[in-house]
């Protein structure tokens, strides 16, 4: 076993709604080349929480069940993807709770099909309703400290700002905002959307995020299982670096070798 594989996992590393998890990486289940690759990639990622959507049963087709495939191993986090209004999202969350027996929900309400940016107004409305109905709301949000703070004040179990548009792989477009959000909120901050490669995930953790949620970066990589492993290591590296306390950034050099005992001095 190489040295890097033997790195210890710091556990527990993530606490949401009173529950602790050994992984700060949450993974999505969409867009994999096939089901087996999805299962292998999720296993390689070390994720303990995976997201699912809620969709109509295909009444004319085969009745394969994602629940059968995943529920024994992973905590399933249903999302409200596809919803454009608070009303639809609240109904979808309720259906998800019925179907899965969980009060956890990833609240996703999208305003604009091109950017898939959250609709902040509907999001705040739906979050308040769902918190009132006893849901643990993990709110997918834009990277705006004001909206994120409002979501936390409403009582969301986690706030999940995007790094960049869903599936774009652009990484963290506004690291200053992400750092501000992490600094201001006591609720866990999970970077959700836009991660493209392992350094993006590490960066999110170094900025202070409690965790990351990613899907496309793994599912659409040339080697999803390889990328899932890299992401697992990236998240652990970023978290470790943050906990270790980095050196400050300086405008000028500071020699690392001592200045005493120089030959010729």
């Amino acid at each position: 076993m190489s040295k890097i594989d033997a790195l210890p996992v710091l556990t527990p590393v993530l606490t949401i709604a009173g529950e602790s998890f050994g992984s700060a990486l949450m993974a999505g289940t969409a867009g994999y080349p096939n089901r087996q690759v999805m299962l292998d990639a999720l296993a390689a990622s070390g994720a303990e929480i995976v997201t699912v959507s809620i969709r109509r049963v295909d009444l004319s087709g085969p009745r394969e069940s994602l629940v059968d495939l995943l529920s024994g191993t992973y905590r399933l986090l249903p999302n409200t993807s596809g919803c454009a209004t608070a009303k639809d999202a609240v109904l979808t969350a309720g259906l998800a709770r019925e179907a899965l027996g969980t009060n956890w929900v990833k609240l996703e309400i999208v305003a604009d099909r091109e950017t898939l940016y959250p609709d902040a107004e509907q999001l705040l409305k739906a979050a308040a309703t769902l918190v009132g109905q006893g849901f643990a709301v993990l709110a997918y949000a834009n990277d705006d400290p004001v909206t994120c703070e409002r979501l936390a004040d409403i009582g969301c179990a986690a706030v999940m700002p995007l790094g960049a548009p869903i599936g774009s792989g652009l990484g963290i477009l506004n690291p200053f905002n992400i750092e501000t959000i992490c600094r201001r909120l006591t609720a866990p901050v999970i970077l959700d959307a836009g991660i493209g490669t392992a350094s993006d995930a590490a960066r999110a953790m170094e900025l202070g995020c409690s965790g990351v949620l990613l899907n496309t970066a793994i599912a659409k990589a040339d080697d999803p299982v390889g990328m899932a492993t890299a992401m697992r290591l990236g998240v652990a590296a970023g978290r470790g670096a943050r906990l270790a306390g980095r050196i400050p950034k300086r405008l000028y050099a500071e020699a690392s070798s001592p200045e005493l005992g120089l030959i010729g001095s």
Binding site: T51, I54, V67, L95, E98, A99
Partner: protein, 67 residues
């Protein structure tokens, strides 16, 4: 009666939700399915007693892949 089922018009010979679920081969003992009638969620405990009337909109949903 004529109802809407998962977004499509559907002619149905029964009168109750439980008959509809059976006709659609929904395994009522298995978790992972949820039902709404006219945008109101019908909890599993009430499936046995929920009635349907003409024009009702029924949604039968389950978890699917998603990010």
């Amino acid at each position: 009666m004529d109802i809407s089922l998962n977004g499509a018009p559907h002619r149905f010979d029964g009168a109750s939700l439980i008959e509809l679920l059976a006709a659609q081969a929904i395994d009522q003992g298995k978790p992972g399915v949820a039902v709404a009638i006219n945008d109101e969620i019908v909890p599993r405990a009430e499936w046995a007693t929920a009635a349907l009337k003409p024009g009702d909109t029924v949604e039968i949903v389950r978890p699917h892949s998603g990010g």
